[in-house]
Symmetry: C3
Subunit: 264 residues, 3 copies
């Protein structure tokens, strides 16, 4: 059974960690199709991992097993979990990494991954991706019922990332930059829905005002900033043929204020 | 049908983009074998993408589908295309990205990817790799005829990258550095054919003269510069156990002058 | 036959090299399952490659073919080899890259890869990963007997990396930092076995003393240094939620001195 198993981690790409984890999975199921989402989440940055996973997971076919390992508390008291939803299964540490994704899914059950029988034979205290999460995904891909991997626990014990929603006040929306991508574009926490019904939008960031909502980058001249709804459905501030984070001297957490001067 | 689909993009490896695109492909054909050529083309650098794709594509088996997405004009007026050749199919934006590769292939037909039926259900204006090109490749890998994906257009409308050929004048060949690889070696636009028949070659770059044409790096002492025909068939200036771009203070676009003092 | 072929190289991820090598393998066996261990070994750093491969190879299923290409002497006098062990086959240059791994395996035979019939048709002098090692792995994955790829040679001609074992003297163990991972943690050459039977351990590096042997990172406060047995079974010096290489200003080769004040 060649199920798809995706990996989202902060392991980096120069060490042996990704390889060892894939080896552990393939030792149990040599036919698993392993797909990397990314291994370059900033070390220990759970919010960044949750955002990246949230952007990508929903494009995979039903039945995909999403393994996420951004796990600064590895070997400590955080719980190893399996979250089964209508469409997908998520496996990793319970530290909020899956909290943005599962908000949008229908959770069926949550399992505390405690059955050592389904771990790697020798379990380290510092590499549960290789020793617990990878093997759990491999067993699942072979058809093992999630319930065999541990006890069912209540969904409401799951941790959430402290994700800040934009504030609406006095006709303004104040959001913030939550991620900067490889192109230097600024992804915000302001969703398409937040600005639905408004026309004539003006976004302000670090004292720079960007008028209008464009459809794509080349709608403005080269080197000019613009606002658009990005490919993940959130407001994005970019620079056509340029690096918005440099041009606008922007960092994660910078405020983005939206003004409206009309409705549609 | 487990066809090979290669990806060459400037998406970077830390974002969700590569994962989302792979998910979109696998949602249509879970048995597609997706192979990364690279996702680290410099953002928006079409020439660099064309060069990397040109070096790698020909080593894949006949029937491989090569998807390339370096697409600064995404969502604008550039056309999404499928180029079918005797050996391969190329899918991506018509901006020159495939122009070096298809010069060497026999083009059968070119399709303007316009049939929305073969797109992702919701198409963004900024991520056609995920929404149009990936799905087109997936449909093709399932056996859909390219002609169903859009209208056939004339080959000669396809854009070319402004690739500069070396100049031959007064017994000299003047080329330039077109790419610097991860080892710091300088790949030039001077081809093996350009220097065929000549012996006693001397290359000059940034005032440094490099005598002779070696077979491999260790033919000169450690730290010494050398010229050789690189693995892609072009003249390469390297430093044995060293970083040529540092040692020779070289950048893309730097002139490389070849002198000959004999023929063979 | 869909055998697993792993790749460990210093090719980097921005060039065409990894893609071309995968294409060469898939042209011979389109069903090979190729798994990247890493392509980010520091250019030409054989010891680093040997360490990374050594950490990962053993987690793959029996029968896996491990291809390693960190090959500064490519095209020169170093021998292209295939090393068959009870569990795995290793293919690459004979320069010590596999020496740490095969110390732990039972070597059956060593083959000098000399039969041109099993090379790519045109062999370059500078890219044997694509032209010799990849194709050898592909042929092997198709069931070709290793003995057909060249003559059997004696195991004891194989090169070793100059790997320094820690020194034990006067109740002290003096080892060194051999690798720094993506988290900035310091991996040493001191093995779990070297400190077995001792309790109350104190590690000193660059004048900083770290008391005790922890189980995991969060056993000490955030920002505090700690010593533990890492996931690969060697002593590791890390900083909880921090970057040990920065905090301790540590580099590869730095001495790590272990003192003991008790036995168990």
């Amino acid at each position: 059974m060649d199920k798809i198993i995706t990996l989202t981690t902060d392991f980096g790409l120069k060490d042996s960690y990704v390889g060892a984890m894939k080896g552990a999975i393939l030792s149990l199921n040599p036919y698993a199709m392993i797909v990397d989402i990314t291994h370059l989440v900033s070390p220990g940055n759970i919010i960044e991992g949750a955002l990246v996973l949230n952007e990508a997971y929903g494009f995979f076919p039903k039945g995909t097993i999403h393994v996420g390992v951004v796990d600064p508390g590895v070997g400590g008291r955080r719980m190893p979990v399996l979250i089964e939803t209508d469409r997908y299964t998520f496996i990793g540490p319970d530290n909020g990494l899956f909290s943005l994704a599962i908000q949008k899914e229908k959770v069926r059950r949550v399992i505390n991954l405690s059955r050592k029988k389904y771990f790697l034979k020798k379990v380290s205290s510092t590499f549960h991706g290789r020793d617990i999460f990878g093997p759990a995904a491999a067993h699942l891909s072979l058809g093992v019922d999630p319930g065999k991997l541990g006890d069912t626990i209540k969904r409401n014990v799951l941790k959430n990332v402290p994700f800040i929603r934009p504030k609406k006040k006095g006709g303004l929306i104040t959001g913030e930059v939550v991620r900067i991508d490889s192109f230097g574009s600024l992804l915000t926490n302001i969703r398409k829905e937040d600005i639905a019904g408004h026309s004539r939008i003006e976004a302000e960031i670090n004292g720079v005002r960007v008028k209008g909502l464009q459809k794509t980058y080349s709608d403005v001249g080269a080197g000019r900033p613009l606002a658009l709804i990005g490919s993940s459905g959130n407001l994005e501030i970019a620079v056509n043929n340029g690096i918005a984070s440099d041009v606008l001297d922007a960092s994660i957490g910078d405020k983005v204020v939206l003004r409206f001067s009309g409705t549609r």
